[in-house]
Symmetry: C2
Subunit: 143 residues, 2 copies
């Protein structure tokens, strides 16, 4: 990692999931399930693996797996290149799973927004809420 300026901001979304960490982990790491709640992808749970997330409208994110601790932690870069600095983004998404009495506490953090990227920060906040809603549906269906 290059030196990240101290002033970057994060989006953090937390959810109580009524499914085991093992089941949630599968939805977070199996490409065909990730496609259903996140985006089309060529993900592999291997540190250093580079992959893309592809939106249906043509947009593409460049990603690299940074950390994999099965059923506990998954982290990858979430980068978007654009000529306009307002849209150019280097960020890191980290999923942290903690078992609870009723299932799993899921914490999602997207870190790396610069202070001039308030719009992107707000968008990511809305985006993660939508992704996690769809994740919930995938988990419910997989029962």
């Amino acid at each position: 990692m290059t030196g990240t300026p101290a002033e970057t901001r994060s989006v953090v979304v937390e959810r109580e999931i009524s499914h085991s960490p093992e089941k949630l982990w599968r939805a977070l790491t199996q490409p065909h399930l990730m496609e259903e709640w996140l985006m089309k992808n060529d993900f592999k749970p291997d540190v250093g693996h580079r992959f893309n997330l592809r939106g249906d409208w043509g947009g593409v994110l460049d990603c690299e797996v940074l950390a994999v601790e099965p059923h506990k932690t998954l982290s990858y870069t979430w980068d978007f290149k654009h000529d306009d600095p307002a849209y150019d983004m280097k960020s890191v998404v980290t999923f942290t799973l903690t078992p609870t009495a009723t299932g799993t506490h899921l914490r999602v953090e997207q870190a790396g927004f610069r202070p001039d990227q308030k719009q992107a920060l707000g968008g990511a906040n809305a985006g993660w809420r939508q992704f996690l809603e769809k994740l919930d549906q995938v988990l419910a269906r997989e029962d």
Copy 2:
């Protein structure tokens, strides 16, 4: 326009809308309504106006208005720059509105997919179906 190879492909989606062309036109051209069914944007219905469509997850499309004929035709470029040619895209979206006895026939065409962009073509097909579903909801609510 530069010479487009003859073999490019298009996505075409058509819908019978139970609202007038005037009302549909507002949803297609007013930024706050476009944001609800399409993406955040700085659109203006002026030929030559350059704007961006911004997804909640950080992706951005570069667009330019090509044609505006109120209540009839709207056309703009829908470009995505990427180092990988499989993802790099130059396309044109055209909305054509035809009044009917019960409302409006809407035709949406996204043209310019190269033969090696089958994945993008399939994604766009799914994407437009989702966008038009949300457009229907916006129109129903605006009654």
